[in-house]
Symmetry: C2
Subunit: 335 residues, 2 copies
Amino acid sequence: MKIAVDVLGGDHAPQEILLGVAGLLRSGDFRSDELLLVGPEEAIVRGLKAAGVTEVPQIAHTEEVIEGHEKPVEGLRAKPRASVALCVEAVRTGRAGGMIAFGNTGATVAGATMGLGMLAGLKRPGIAVTLTGETGRFVLLDVGANPAPKPLHLFQYALMGAAYARDLIGATRPKVGLLNIGGEATKGHPLLKETYQALGAAQDDSMAFVGNAEGDEIFKGKADVYVCDGFVGNMVLKVVEGFAEYMLHTAAKGGAGEGLKPTLRSMMGAAEFSEVGAATLLGVNGVVLIGHGRSRANAVGPALRLARAEVRSGVNRHIVESVAAHGAQAPAQEA
Amino acid sequence: MKIAVDVLGGDHAPQEILLGVAGLLRSGDFRSDELLLVGPEEAIVRGLKAAGVTEVPQIAHTEEVIEGHEKPVEGLRAKPRASVALCVEAVRTGRAGGMIAFGNTGATVAGATMGLGMLAGLKRPGIAVTLTGETGRFVLLDVGANPAPKPLHLFQYALMGAAYARDLIGATRPKVGLLNIGGEATKGHPLLKETYQALGAAQDDSMAFVGNAEGDEIFKGKADVYVCDGFVGNMVLKVVEGFAEYMLHTAAKGGAGEGLKPTLRSMMGAAEFSEVGAATLLGVNGVVLIGHGRSRANAVGPALRLARAEVRSGVNRHIVESVAAHGAQAPAQEA
């Protein structure tokens, strides 16, 4: 199965994307028939050859791209051959088993949702990221697709996150926590209280519900999967990113010196979206990854390896099965 | 003007609170007539004398306390002589110019709101904290008093935060940012869009509105005051606290060694609520500080100095003046 790669999206496209792809091909980590590159054919061939690639992957030619500042739906309408749209089309027709785009997040979410539709039984897509804390890797979702979810959406995010944690981070019975500002079941918005009850009733061999998790518990390993609305999740992810950068700058200025930087940088690696490689759009009928717009060549490898692992894992099939199996515990749609 | 100190609230009360108070008195930083200690008289006198204090401050005797796990309103009803209630009473009657409690945050918010009422024109209290970022100190509010505010509440939080930044962190024309998940005016919940418009119209010599601020901009100095709902603010504050602890542990384990710890700890000081000393409940008719329940003796000094600075600054008068001056730009109450 091929991974479709949007070569045109992102702040440093196409050069850095191509350099990253070239590195993966040269090292033998990816075979050329595992990739479908979406972008300007001549520039792709020239760029890869210059970087020492002998066997150039298949190319879906286009020169159109939805820029970072463009409105997603309008951009998709005005540019039917935008690189992200061709990636989605490749997944829809089965030409590729999954896709990754480093550009406009909104355009990727809108393009994939409209072009692929939802998985059976799923109501709304959510964006999941994997971070590292005291006890290892954990999943956080939604980080921005759905800022005002209903209880049913949050409930399904929990099931999606648990399936993802089983398949991609090796948690056999993932602990699921609901991000909240207090530990008790009665805390938070009504939508959180309803989700809390439903998740409590839904726990079984496939996942354990550990209740509410407060902000200071996220990195302590309270859960393997943290569920929240897209506003809160986006804020959490970006605050961590910004705070890590602040600490790095402060350490550098504070006489901690250059010797400290590598340590801090590796500590932060886990928290920096750009080094994780990519986030995953869960809930749509296809494997869709969203790379950070700031991605450089070194972010391309981890992102493509993650995309391939997701395709191979069958995570979307497991999500559909889990949602079907937990239908009886799901909150009502109109809650 | 005295500061009323709840000696019974918090995880390490009364010992650590008394040790902190004793240190302030011994050093001459506070005179004994600047304090009103609320708690068990005999234990206070014994504790302070044992810690080398010769002139014991006034004491309002009580042995009742609302524990951390108690429901605020029920606790206040069941224990009319709870230490936090007596602190509020001291402020209400003018026996003290301000108060600080290290215990149950909900009880302090509820007790102060019911006992003191709101400042003229103010609709809802908000909790403000001061943190340090790349360009110095900044104010974040609300961090937990009001998880589902209306646009009018957020608007008033902005004015309160700006007055606080002028008086307490020396920003002459504070930059105010609205925490959001995108930069454009059209991003986020409807309540944020309405607040955005109102703040844009309200900016003048007393404050500048810099628009939306994303999570990764908070520590970069985009604004002096960041405004958000109490759910998001609480999450941001606690995530930073937890992430800083995680980094400290990782650095210690990762062979960065003991030599690194002091640097990291001082970097984190700014972010750790417990070392900042306290948060401030703004909007109520009195100076009310909320210390971290985990506070140790060394957190008491900064908290009490902050309380005294707030009383002296006249910040509450400046808040009332600013809200009155910006009435024409305020969102409608029922929006």
